[in-house]
Each structure stands twice: as structure tokens, then as C-alpha cells.
């Protein structure tokens, strides 16, 4: 019996379709081997330099593969889907992974550089599978691959108790959420006899929302809600964001958000859209709409209000991430192609701003600098590190949604998609979202004010920031500005990938 003798499976096709993922996994091995085998005695700086170079080359190679040899189609029982849309998201993930590697440059929290970069790259492999699958089995496995990598990344600073604490909380909550998700999936499988999203959707089409289906939906939403840190499943976020080494925080806040939201939307819109709503909602609404509305509203309110009282920049970013998760759920709630387009645009631009903000914090603690956690510590940063401060300004204003930065258009598209179409979300939710954005402006500006107006502590010397990190931050800031001034670059690309007019 030869491999070609099995009916229905072409191993060659599977190989070709997974080439980008394989390339990234191979890069991870390469980074690990080179670091462990040849650079044992080298200085930290050299090791970071070589490792980052390998990681970036791998990401660039994978992006090239995605564009030069696109293998569109599907494999297995919805196991692997490759289309222009997944390509957009995968490209974004690869770019964010490369940024993370570049921003970790010169970090001092660990000496296991090869392992650190390998974990980031393996996590990226997992995310690339995650966004390219419409089968619950592969979705779950790659979600676990991603989560496991994130727990490891969060715990990577072994000299810090906070890192261990945050990682443990993240791990325990994550394990819990995985159990919920599995329970939900098994109930869906019991009800429909399939783990393929398309098949599940077909099976629940036209069925009333039985209590059983409702339980399955709630469990699934719970599982994904943990991953995207939506209230009331957000409890891990502040501790993980604060405790994790800053570059890990950047990765958790950016890349994993993109992948989790994409797969969340995929599950809700491809897999469960046909489940009918109860009488209170008109029939075209999916049965899960009330759950998502509740989660979204709670996330917006709690995330933004809690962010106001934070004194730690990282915790502030964590709570604001919860708030942003609330906005992004509007994109899923819209249940339209426009909603998905707006969601992807939003989550990518949000990820850029978040990775940038964490990147600035990482730069402030890299090399010989002492790290910054409390907002007052940032006072007068503009005089000590003007370029960094300006980048921070751009990222925070984009997060707050000030035109003409990318964050503004993200919100604009998202809210208009939520209002448009027959499946429009409730008006009050959009009004709430706009009100909360206004509130968020307050706490973002509080940080910016400290940076630009606050008086620096006496005799604080200018910061020494590595040129690589500065250049990376400038590129990210530039991306945020360009995507804001010409949003059509990205929106048009996503739209054409989805065949939208």
C-alpha cells in the first residue's frame, strides 16, 4: 500500500497547502538550534541579533510563500481552508510576529533566547492553522497550541513573582475555558453529528433554539470569550498583561487577539449563524445574539470604567483591551460581510497600536534602562526619549480613536456596519460604544499628558534605546498613520479578498 493508494487524501496537496506553516515551524527549530548549538558562549546582544534575524527572515519567507504560491482551496472535512481572506489574516499574524521578535531585541528578562523566539514562532504556526480551519477539532488543537505558548511566554521572566503569578492565573483560567469550549463542542457534535462548521450550520438551520443548543452556544461563547478577554471572562487579563515580560505582553495583546477574534467570528458566523433566535428577537437574528450583546455591553462598560482608575500602564492597557473586545464584538453581531470586514480592519489596526504601546514600554526596560510600570513614572518622558514619546502618542491616540489615525476608521467602520443592514445590532449598544469611546479618551490622554506635560524626576538622563527597536516602533507608528490616512489600502484589500463590491 502506498501513500497515493489511500482514497480521498492527497498528501502532496496537504504539504503544499501547509507550506507557510511548515516554514514557520522550521524557522522555530532553526532559531532554537542555532542559538543552542553555536551561540552558547556569545553575548546576549549577539544572540538576540542572530535570533531576531532568523525569525524575521522566516516570517518574510512565509509571507513570500503566501503570495507567490497561493494554494487556495480546502482540505479534508473543512480541516484546512485557504482563501484570500485567510491569507490577509495570516499575513497580519506573520508581520506581528516579526514585530514582536524585533521589539524583544535587547531585552534582559531572559537568557533563553532561542527558546523564547521558538515559542513565539510556534505560537504563530498555531495561529496560522487556527485562522485557516473550519473544523472544530483543528480549531481546538491549534487554540490550545496558541494558549500553551502564551502561558509559557507570560511566565518567561523567571526572576519576577508577578510574571509567575500572571502566568498561573492565565493558565488556570485558560484551562477552565478550554474545558468549557470542549463541552460546548461536544454538545454541538451530539446535536449535529459533525465537527465541521459548515455542516453544523446546515444541521441547525431552521431548528428552534432548544435549551440544549442554547447551552452549547453559551459554552462555546464562554470558551472564546476567555480567549478574547471579554467580561465576565476577562479576569486573567490585567494580571497577565502586567506580569508578563513586556514583549510577551505585546504578543498576547496583538497577535493572539487577531487570531482569536477571527476564529471567534468564523465559529459564530460560519458555524452557528443559522441557529434561530427566540421570539424577542426577530427571526433573522442568530440565537446567540443576546449572549453576545450582553458580553459586549458588559465588556465596554467594565473595561473602560476600570481602566480609568488604573495606575499601572500595563493594567490600563489590559482593561482598555477588554473595552476594545466589547467594541469588536459589534462586528460579529452585525452578521454581515461588512461586519467581518470592519472587524478584521479594526483588530489589525488595534493590534498594531497595542504592540506599539507595549513595544515602547519594552524599549524603556531594555538594556540598561529601568522599567516603567506606574503612570507617574512616565512623567517627562518626552524630554528623555522624544522619538519614543511621539510613537506612544500616536499609538494611544489611535487606541482612543482620534482621526486621522487608524483607530478612528476602525471604530467608524465597525459602528456603521453594526447599524447597517437588516441584522443591525441594537441602537443602544452602538450609542453605548460611542459613549465609552469618549470616556476612553480620558484615560489615554492622562498617560499622554504625563509623558508630555509631567515634570521628569531630577537628573534623569536621556534614555539609550537600541536603534532596531526605535526603527521598528517608527515603522509601526507609520503604519498606524498610513492606515488611518488611507484606510482603503487595508479595507480594500480585505474587501476584495471577501469579494465585496
Amino acid at each position: 500500500m502506498t501513500a497515493a493508494g489511500y482514497p480521498g487524501v492527497s498528501y502532496l496537496r496537504l504539504l503544499l497547502m501547509t507550506l507557510p506553516q511548515i516554514a514557520i515551524a522550521a524557522t522555530a527549530f532553526l532559531a532554537l538550534t542555532v542559538d543552542l548549538a553555536t551561540l552558547r558562549k556569545a553575548s546576549l546582544r549577539t544572540r538576540w541579533r542572530v535570533g531576531t534575524l532568523i525569525a524575521c527572515a522566516g516570517c518574510a519567507g512565509a509571507i513570500l510563500l503566501l503570495f507567490l504560491y497561493p494554494q487556495y482551496g480546502s482540505f479534508g472535512d473543512g480541516m484546512l481552508i485557504a482563501n484570500p481572506l485567510t491569507r490577509v489574516v495570516q499575513t497580519a499574524l506573520l508581520v506581528l510576529a516579526a514585530f514582536t521578535a524585533l521589539l524583544s531585541f535587547d531585552a534582559v528578562f531572559t537568557s533563553h533566547i532561542g527558546e523564547y523566539l521558538a515559542v513565539i514562532l510556534f505560537a504563530t504556526t498555531g495561529m496560522m492553522f487556527l485562522v485557516a480551519s473550519q473544523n472544530f477539532l483543528l480549531i481546538f488543537i491549534s487554540l490550545e497550541l496558541l494558549s500553551l505558548s502564551l502561558y509559557i511566554l507570560a511566565a518567561f521572566n523567571k526572576s519576577s513573582r508577578q510574571s509567575a503569578e500572571g502566568a498561573l492565573k492565565y493558565f488556570l483560567f485558560g484551562g477552565m475555558s478550554a474545558a468549557f469550549l470542549l463541552f460546548g463542542i461536544s454538545l454541538l457534535y451530539g446535536l449535529t453529528g459533525s465537527i465541521n462548521l459548515v455542516e453544523i450550520n446546515r444541521a441547525i438551520q431552521g431548528r428552534p433554539l432548544t435549551p440544549m443548543l442554547a447551552v452549547a452556544l453559551v459554552m462555546t461563547v464562554t470558551g472564546f470569550g476567555f480567549k478574547v478577554a471579554a467580561v465576565p471572562f476577562h479576569l486573567w487579563a490585567p494580571d497577565a498583561y502586567q506580569g508578563a515580560p513586556t514583549p510577551s505582553g505585546a504578543f498576547i495583546a496583538s497577535s493572539s487577539k487577531v487570531a482569536s477574534f477571527f476564529v471567534f467570528a468564523q465559529v459564530m458566523l460560519v458555524g452557528l449563524a443559522a441557529g434561530q433566535g427566540s421570539g424577542a428577537w426577530h427571526n433573522s437574528k442568530a440565537g446567540w445574539a443576546p449572549v453576545i450583546v450582553a458580553v459586549a455591553a458588559l465588556s465596554m462598560i467594565l473595561g473602560n470604567l476600570a481602566a480609568i482608575v488604573q495606575t499601572s500602564v500595563r493594567r490600563l492597557l489590559a482593561y482598555s483591551a477588554v473595552g476594545h473586545a466589547g467594541y469588536m464584538l459589534l462586528g460579529i453581531l452585525a452578521q454581515s460581510a461588512w461586519g467581518v470586514r470592519a472587524l478584521i480592519y479594526y483588530v489589525i489596526t488595534y493590534a498594531l497600536a497595542a504592540i506599539g504601546a507595549f513595544g515602547v514600554l519594552a524599549a524603556l526596560e531594555a538594556g540598561d534602562n529601568v522599567g516603567v510600570d506606574e503612570i507617574p513614572d512616565l512623567a517627562g518622558l518626552s524630554r528623555r526619549a522624544p522619538v519614543l514619546s511621539f510613537c506612544m502618542l500616536i499609538f494611544f491616540l489611535s487606541l482612543a480613536g482620534i482621526p486621522p489615525l487608524a483607530g478612528f476608521f476602525g471604530k467608524f467602520y465597525l459602528f456603521s456596519a453594526a447599524l447597517a443592514g437588516e441584522n443591525s445590532g441594537p441602537l443602544w449598544l452602538v450609542v453605548l460604544a460611542i459613549a465609552m469611546s469618549a470616556i476612553s479618551l480620558y484615560y489615554y490622554l492622562r498617560v499622554v499628558k504625563q509623558i508630555y506635560v509631567g515634570e521628569p524626576a531630577a537628573a534623569a538622563p536621556p534614555m539609550k534605546i537600541s536603534r532596531t527597536v526605535t526603527a521598528t516602533l517608527c515603522v509601526i507608528a507609520l503604519l498606524v498613520v498610513v492606515l488611518g490616512c488611507a484606510p482603503n489600502l487595508l479595507v480594500g484589500w480585505i474587501g476584495s479578498a471577501m469579494h465585496l463590491p
Binding site: 489511500y6 480521498g8 487524501v9 498528501y11 496537504l14 501547509t18 515551524a25 532554537l32 482540505f75 479534508g76 472535512d77 480541516m79 484546512l80 531572559t110 537568557s111 533563553h112 527558546e115 523564547y116 521558538a118 515559542v119 510556534f122 505560537a123 504556526t125 498555531g126 492553522f129 477539532l137 483543528l138 488543537i141 491549534s142 490550545e144 497550541l145 500553551l148 505558548s149 502561558y151 509559557i152 511566565a155 518567561f156 523567571k158 526572576s159 451530539g190 446535536l191 453529528g193 432548544t210 435549551p211 440544549m212 447551552v215
Partner: protein, 164 residues
């Protein structure tokens, strides 16, 4: 007879799981977990999954749980201490879990008709059927799982090793 076996081991499994939560000493909890794992293996066996049942015993009861007890023994972990927080969690958690359980049971019982039925002890899955599914239809998840395990090892080594 199959039903009797099922009921016995299902009850044993749930009892083991409850005991796991209620015991104060970690080694007793670990032993209860072994009971749970082994009873699960019997349930697999009743569903005809022989290979899976054997692997469940070898891997979970035999290898993983030994490492659990190993760690407990090495750390010489004592009895669990109760704090005010854990008592509060106990007071709120138990009724909460009970309500949730009652709700789920009610729902499952009411939806009996919609669910597929499993018949106990009716057929046996040959190991080669399992392997052809695993290496043909589910090849991709299988391979991704290998990366998952690899990263678990990598993480464990990286986190457990001393910083120089």
C-alpha cells in the same frame, strides 16, 4: 450486564471526581484522579474502543499520574490549608455548582429525544481502523498535536531550567 458495568463505573468515576475535590491531602486527590482515569478507560471499553481504553490506562493512570504522585512526594506537600477566601469560595461555589448541575441535568433529560444514542458493548473498533482514521482523515490535527506536545516540552524545559 453492560448496563450494570456502565452504571458501576460511571458512579465510581463521579465519586472519584468528587472525592478528588473534597480530599484535603494532595496524595489522596491524586489517587482519586487515578480512579477517575481508570473508570473512564472502562467506559471506553464498553463503547468498543479497546485500544483507547488500554492507552488511557497506560498513559494517564500509568505514566502521567505517577508523575503527579512523584511531584507530590518530592515536594512533600502537606494538607491543604483553609483560608477565609477558600471558605467563601466553598460557600458560594458549591450551591452555584449544584444549581448549574441541576440546570444541565434538567436540560439534558428534556432533550433526550434529540440526541444520538450510544449502544454499549455492541461493537469493537479494530486498532487498524483507528489508525487509518488517525493517519488519513485526521492527519493534520495529529501533526499539529505533535507541535503542541513539542512546545509543552520546550516550555517545561525553558521554565524549569535555572537562569545562569
Amino acid at each position: 450486564m453492560y448496563l450494570a458495568l456502565f452504571i458501576f463505573f460511571a458512579v465510581l468515576c463521579v465519586a472519584g471526581a468528587l472525592n478528588l475535590l473534597l480530599q484535603r491531602h494532595p496524595i489522596n486527590s491524586a489517587l482519586s484522579l487515578i480512579v477517575v482515569m481508570t473508570s473512564l478507560a472502562v467506559l471506553y471499553l464498553l463503547l468498543g474502543a479497546q485500544f483507547l481504553a488500554a492507552v488511557q490506562v497506560i498513559v494517564y493512570s500509568g505514566a502521567i499520574m505517577v508523575l503527579f504522585t512523584f511531584v507530590i512526594m518530592l515536594l512533600n506537600a502537606g494538607r491543604e490549608e483553609h483560608t477565609r477566601g477558600s471558605r467563601a469560595a466553598f460557600l458560594v461555589g458549591f450551591p452555584g455548582a449544584a444549581v448549574l448541575l441541576a440546570l444541565l441535568v434538567q436540560i439534558f433529560l428534556s432533550a433526550r429525544g434529540h440526541l444520538a444514542q450510544a449502544r454499549l458493548g455492541e461493537y469493537v473498533t479494530a486498532t487498524h481502523t483507528l489508525s487509518s482514521v488517525l493517519f488519513r482523515d485526521l492527519l493534520l490535527p495529529f501533526e499539529v498535536t505533535s507541535v503542541l506536545i513539542l512546545i509543552a516540552i520546550l516550555g517545561a524545559v525553558a521554565l524549569a531550567r535555572k537562569e545562569p
